[in-house]
Amino acid sequence: MRDAGLIGEASATSSLRVRTRRNARLREALFALVLLAPSIALFSTFAFYPLIKTFYLGFFRSDPFGLSASYVGFDQYIDVLGSDRFHRSLFTTGLFALFTVPTGLVLGLGLALLAHQKLRGMIIYRTIFSSTVATSVAVASVMWLTLLNPSIGIINYGLKETGFEPINWLGDPEWALPAVSLTTIWLNLGFTFIVILAGLQTIPEELHESAKVDGAGAVSRLFNVTLPMLSPTLLFSVVVLTINAFQSFGQIDLLTQGGPLDRTNVIVYSIYTEGFRNFNEGVAAAQGVALFFIVLTLTLIQFRFLERRGFYGN
């Protein structure tokens, strides 16, 4: 194993004495440590230590003023993770994923299919379709805050002109989450488009040609050639979009602050309010641990699949 290294520096010196070789190996290992030290220090300080600390904080209950905390063991985890409030937040986040992921995927696929053709000027369309990838969550949210505004918003204007009742998008408990979802779908569209178009470009042209020769029409080719070949990319997009949904915060903070009636109080927003508004660090930490396991599960699914397909590996 050891001698099967990638770059055989040691093999060049193999004719030399064993002691020199051992020294060279030690030097190489020390040099590797020096190169890795900055990353190791940063990961330890800002990823691993705080992760363990989050688990630890969940064992302590803050007093109502957030001044001191006492050890309560698993009680707080049981209380928080079993509470209706947390279940509602989890349900809201799940609903948010359900509103954003399938729609976003279908729209991204549609755009990618449209742009996957040899037409003059396509580069311009592709740039436009990709553009929201460069849009920050704050910029997108403020744009949609205006579009969704009940009095000046262009969306309500469109509704009124076509004979529908105007909607109080962000103030109505029924409509707030769909409104936030609409913003999110638009924001994610550029990313989904880029990933699916890249997937389309890896499908060999010959497959389409031979299907054509066999007399398959455009619709048949889409369902029998394109979509099956694209399924790893689509699965990848679903996982990434779902993880994104579970980590969403900015659009909630700018559009609804979790309201009305907690209807947009997704899990990260709930962590933020408990930890930084109510100073309930323990409660926030317990919710953070739950979020960690959710994202961990989704990430493992993704790694398993990346490993199997070796996709985007270069």
Binding site: A32, S39, L114, L119, A134, V240, L254, I271, G275, G288
Partner: protein
């Protein structure tokens, strides 16, 4: 091109092809208009006086552009300061991530040392720790260090990246081993080989990482919101929130601020589209 297919089936009449292309362009243009719609409205509103924005029906074109709102966004909203902060923070994060990734990736790709594979898995494991999960201890750390409302607080936690290390390691692994041997013969040490051979040969991956890092850093929201309370170190994303809360009825001012916050990064997309796409597709791992 298959040759055993009858010519008439392969080549439809000319008008049919023209019609198909026209339909494709129509669909593309409609889709582009829907996606750009919000951007268009934003720009229009930023150039209109407030009374016109509140008029019904809304006027969806500009007759007399009012550039004044941009000037005011810079003056009353301190957007200039926020932009400088965002540039400083994003450039520092980008430079830091590229540096730490080059170093770590070099070790993983070219050096032999004990526990190499295990350590690589540990690096990748950081991708499974969402930043949102660890904000409370990280806030405490930054607070203890006295780095609240500081550039260090905004920059240092993000200076290392497993994604970047992974991306560059993959690129370094494609560098032919003969080159390393030849470089060693010529008396190159590891540093010389890294900077003069490995990195230049992997410049596409390095470029992708740099553009991707800058984009992610520029668009950060939660962390800068938590640790900045004063204008002095606020980034443009948080500045935009402050502008909205302070001037909620002045839509032209708010929209001008939005355009200012979005413009630099959109320019980046147009200039470095290829690198960005490469970065996104090769490892939207973190999402």
């Amino acid at each position: 091109m298959a040759t055993n297919v009858p010519a008439p089936r392969r080549r439809p009449f000319r008008w049919q092809r023209v019609a198909t292309e026209a339909a494709q362009y129509l669909a593309l243009t409609v889709a582009a208009a829907v996606i750009l719609g919000p951007v268009y409205i934003t720009v229009i509103y930023s150039l209109q006086p407030v009374e016109k924005i509140f008029s019904y029906p809304p006027q969806l074109y500009v007759t007399d552009p009012q550039w004044d709102s941009y000037k005011r966004a810079f003056e009353t909203g301190s957007l200039g300061r926020y932009l400088i902060n965002s540039f400083v923070v994003s450039l520092a994060i980008t430079a830091g991530q590229v540096t730490t990734s080059v170093l770590a990736a070099y070790a993983f790709a070219f050096l032999r040392f004990p526990f190499r594979n295990l350590l690589f898995v540990v690096f990748l494991a950081t991708l499974m720790v969402p930043w949102e999960v660890t904000i409370i201890p990280n806030y405490q750390t930054i607070s203890t260090l006295g780095w609240l409302d500081s550039y260090q607080g905004l920059i240092v936690p993000f200076l290392a990246t497993a994604f970047g290390t992974f991306l560059l390691r993959q690129a370094f692994l494609t560098v032919p081993r003969d080159l390393r041997d030849a470089a060693a013969m010529d008396g190159y040490g590891h540093i010389g080989f890294m900077l003069q051979v490995a990195v230049p040969l992997s410049r596409a991956a390095v470029g992708a990482l740099a553009v991707f890092s800058f984009l992610m850093a520029w668009n950060q929201y939660l962390w800068p919101l938590l640790i900045t309370n004063e204008d002095e170190h606020r980034t443009v994303q948080i500045g935009l929130k402050a502008l909205v809360s302070a001037n909620i009825d002045e839509f032209n001012l708010v929209m001008a601020g939005t355009v200012i916050a979005a413009a630099p990064i959109l320019a980046l997309l147009v200039l470095f589209q290829k690198q960005l796409i490469r970065g996104l597709t090769s490892g939207a791992i973190k999402g």
